[in-house]
């Protein structure tokens, strides 16, 4: 349409993310005639991106996604202006003034944290935001315009799954628990920072010794070669630790008891001596190509190995780390693209699983779980990108009444594979866009300021660079331009109990928490409470006045996550919110008055009749026959050309 072209050509867009959705989106925007696009992405290109991030080639691996994407598009649209930023969108440079220069912001992100941050900046700058996400064949596109629709945080999003610590350390029941143990406890203890606190039981004790004499099993003994060390570690974590756990009868009253596993039970003696072919099959030099699988001739990552094979991999991987990657030990963190690390974690998780009667998994599966890998295909991203551009054009034309949230389904629902829904009005109790005051129950005599900052301000409220004030007194802030005295003062404050701060925080206090970059201010009413249930309220503080995200496995204890918050956040919105009968498909009103945004009705019997069901269930159209019948997209046909007088539409 002619009017479209002028808004398109004059528009200045910001894209956040140049990955799966980003590549498809940049291409579609360019082909649609957009001329001025800025794009932010902090990542570099990896091989596994190339199945769908089609602007990139093998030769680009390691380079900046934003820059390579730009170069690729300029080749087929030389006149287009694309400004790439190889940077983190949370960087203070991308402040409200930066966001204000754009007509619309388009997100193609893969984590909740960044999405929340961009949401706040868009609200602060009053720039509409088009959000999106895909996982496999599912996807969605949503539009957020300040004051007119919900913001991205009006409906709470599920935070990444966490597991109670005791489940991980003592009572795993699922394979993922074993993975978290292998990755965040065992791997971290053996190859990561030795000074880091770790819940793994590392001490042996005999009846007589006190804690000062207990030794750290992970320290290698004098005259112990690497093979002996490996076997000793194996016996300790899979054998001894299980025996110790078994000695606590209470734990196993209603649970299946695990069985301890020792090297001698699993590997025949000859095999113990000659575990792998370290020298034969290795590629010289490159540490990342060192592989236990290669060394042992286990070639297929899709195979589920036996307990024996897993044990051999475990010992071989351990050996290879110490022999070939000695320098890195003490500094390593788990990386899903580190083959040897994945092998080690897979094997360790599987042995533990075998111990607890949990089914074993292949390396391919284990890697997906440990690495929080999101499965992804090009086609879904292409579809979502098309939908994003359609919404972006509506935003540029200020066509508010036509904004839609669109869901891409794997299987059609009521004949629809792409399902548009009208956006909802802003949530009046959303603390992000509606400035609702919050309440915090906390023991002000036992909690430190640090606990408040970490658990409430950063984790729950998602603030990046917070500022905490009690009245006129600044209790805490973060920033580059602070002088040393102030920094020292804040550090000291962090360690103080709330009631002992320079400006004491007690019941009835109101704290003001701000993030200047996000332009978000929250007022929190503090209520003192003496006791908290250790199981149900492990944080020792309750924040309310704000709808909690549904965190699945929380049975109360102190939690452990499974790595970065990537997977759940990049997924499509859980479909329980848009089940078959709950959808409110509002027909386009013909009178030209913008329909009022409705709160979603939970009782569908009162809902506006859906377009398709008005025919199915025979509810009348309410309109007179001569008017354009827009209540339904469907018409009834009568057979043949016999010219029989028309029948009435089905009532």
């Amino acid at each position: 349409m002619a009017s479209d072209l002028s808004v398109i050509e004059g528009a200045k867009l910001l894209m956040v993310g140049a990955g799966g959705i980003g590549c498809e989106l940049l291409k579609t925007l360019a082909l649609s005639g957009f001329k001025d696009i800025h794009i932010i992405d902090m990542d570099t290109i990896e091989v596994s991106n190339l199945n769908r991030q089609f602007l990139f080639r093998q030769s680009h691996v390691g380079q900046s996604k934003a820059k390579v994407a730009r170069d690729a598009v300029v080749r087929f649209r030389p006149q287009i202006s694309i400004t790439p930023y190889h940077a983190n969108v949370k960087d203070p440079d991308f402040n409200v003034d930066f966001f204000k220069q754009f007509n619309v912001v388009l997100n193609g992100l893969d984590n909740l944290d960044a999405r929340r941050h961009v949401n706040r900046l868009c609200l602060a700058a009053d720039v509409p935001l088009v959000e999106s996400g895909t996982t496999g064949f599912l996807g969605q596109v949503t539009v957020h315009a300040k004051g007119k629709t919900e913001c991205y945080e009006c409906q709470p999003k599920p935070s990444p799954k966490t597991y109670p610590v005791c489940t991980i350390t003592s009572t795993p029941s699922k394979f993922v628990h074993c993975i978290v143990w292998a990755k965040d406890l065992l791997f971290a203890k053996m190859f990561g920072d030795k000074n880091q606190e770790n819940d793994l039981n590392v001490r042996t004790s005999d009846a007589a010794s006190s804690s000062e004499h207990a030794e750290d099993v992970f320290e290698s003994k004098k005259d112990e070669d690497i093979e002996q060390y490996g076997r000793r570690i194996y016996d300790h974590v899979f054998g001894y630790n299980i025996e110790v756990a078994l000695s606590n009868e209470e734990t196993w009253k209603n649970r299946n008891r695990p069985r301890p596993v020792y090297v001698r039970d699993v590997l025949a003696t000859e095999l113990i001596q000659q575990n792998g072919n370290v020298d034969k099959d290795l590629v010289a030099g490159d540490p990342l190509s060192v592989s236990a699988m290669a060394s042992l001739g286990l070639k297929n990552p899709q195979d589920v190995w036996s307990l024996m094979e897993n044990s051999r991999i475990f010992l071989e991987a351990l050996k290879l780390f110490f022999l070939k990657r000695q320098k890195e030990i003490g500094n390593l963190s788990f990386d899903k693209d580190d083959q040897l690390a994945v092998e080690f974690v897979t094997a360790a998780a599987n042995i533990r699983a075998a111990s607890f009667g949990i089914p074993l998994h292949s390396l391919f599966e284990a890697k997906g779980i440990a690495g929080n890998i999101v499965h992804a295909v090009a086609t879904t991203n292409a579809i979502i990108a098309g939908l994003i551009v359609i919404e972006a054009i509506k935003v540029l034309r200020k066509d508010t009444s036509n904004y839609r949230m669109t869901y891409c389904l794997e299987h059609p629902s009521r004949k629809m594979l792409l399902m548009p829904v009208e956006p909802f009005e802003p949530n009046k109790s959303c603390y992000v866009c509606s400035e609702t005051p919050l309440s915090l129950e906390i023991n002000t005599k036992r909690s430190k300021l640090r606990d408040f900052v970490e658990k409430v301000v950063k984790a729950k409220l998602g603030m990046n660079l917070p500022l905490i004030m009690h009245g006129q007194v600044l209790l805490y802030e973060v920033g580059d331009d602070l002088d040393e005295d102030m920094v020292a003062n804040y550090e000291a404050n962090l360690e103080k109990l709330l009631s002992e701060l320079p400006s004491p925080v007690t019941g009835g206090t109101i704290l003001t928490v701000e993030d200047l970059q996000q332009e978000l201010t929250c007022n929190i009413n503090v209520k003192h409470r003496e006791d908290f249930d250790e199981e149900k309220e492990p944080d020792g503080m309750i924040l309310s006045g704000w709808t909690q995200p549904p965190a699945a496995e929380k049975d109360g204890k102190e939690s452990m996550g499974n790595g970065a918050s990537t997977s759940s956040a990049s997924q499509a919105i859980p479909l329980e919110t848009i089940g078959d009968d709950d959808i409110e498909i509002v027909p386009v009103v013909t009178e030209g008055v913008a329909p009022e945004r409705k709160r979603k009705l939970s009782d569908t019997s009162n809902a506006v009749t859906s377009d398709l069901s008005s025919v199915e269930h025979g509810t009348s159209s309410k309109k007179k026959p001569q008017e354009i019948d827009d209540d339904s997209d469907v018409v009834m046909l009568e057979d043949g050309d016999s010219g029989i007088s028309k029948k009435k539409r089905l009532r």
Binding site: T28, N51, H375, V377, A382, G386, L387, I628, M636, E638
Partner: protein
């Protein structure tokens, strides 16, 4: 022919989609050969998608595509307005000897007459198929890239399903209208199981 198994390189490259449809499906894709006819926007999008999926080969043919029409009598009793309107247009193109898409808003008067005839024959009232809808279909003869991306994506998925043998094909006609944002599947197959 080469090895039955995927190479290590392919396994690494296709890791993320193997996690969607499995290794066997990926193997079948790698042995498939695709012929594409008619290179317009949607088809080009499709080509990108099918190459990314990892097919064995792709052959391009730029011929005119044939319109596939089924007789009116075999249409199901209940169809979307948009589909009905599209068939009115198709009838018009046929009658006037036009190529598909070779229309303009100047054709509206004749199309409206055709609508009258067809509605009388098949029962929907003319009021149900608005003038504006027909006008829009007559005028939009150029491609809209976002819609190409959407249709090319759906098409890509269908072909991948067909080759890999995984997943039910959509049954059997998909269309998308950017004005209302709905992507609808119509069953216009010959089996008359509709009530």
């Amino acid at each position: 022919m080469g090895n039955e198994e995927l190479t290590e390189q392919e396994t690494a490259l296709y890791d993320r989609q193997i996690r969607v449809w499995g290794v066997d499906a990926q193997r079948r894709l790698s042995k498939s050969h695709i012929l594409v006819s008619g290179l317009r926007g949607t088809v080009v999008e499709f080509c990108k998608n099918i190459v990314l999926a990892g097919v064995g080969s792709l052959t391009l043919n730029d011929d005119r595509p044939d319109a596939i029409a089924i007789p009116w009598r075999s249409l199901p009793k209940r169809v979307s307005k948009l589909y009905f309107a599209m068939r009115v247009l198709e009838r018009f193109e046929e009658a006037e000897g036009r190529n598909p898409g070779e229309t303009s808003t100047a054709d509206l008067p004749i199309v409206l007459k055709l609508r009258k005839d067809l509605c009388e024959a098949h029962s929907p009232s003319e009021a149900q198929i608005p003038d504006s809808l027909l006008e829009r279909l007559l005028a939009s003869t150029t491609e809209f890239p976002p819609v190409c991306a959407i249709i090319g994506g759906i098409l890509g998925q269908e072909v991948i399903k067909a080759i890999s043998g995984k997943g039910d094909p959509l049954k059997n006609f998909f269309f998308f209208d950017a004005v209302d944002g709905k992507g609808i599947i119509e069953d216009i197959s010959n089996t008359n199981t509709h009530s």
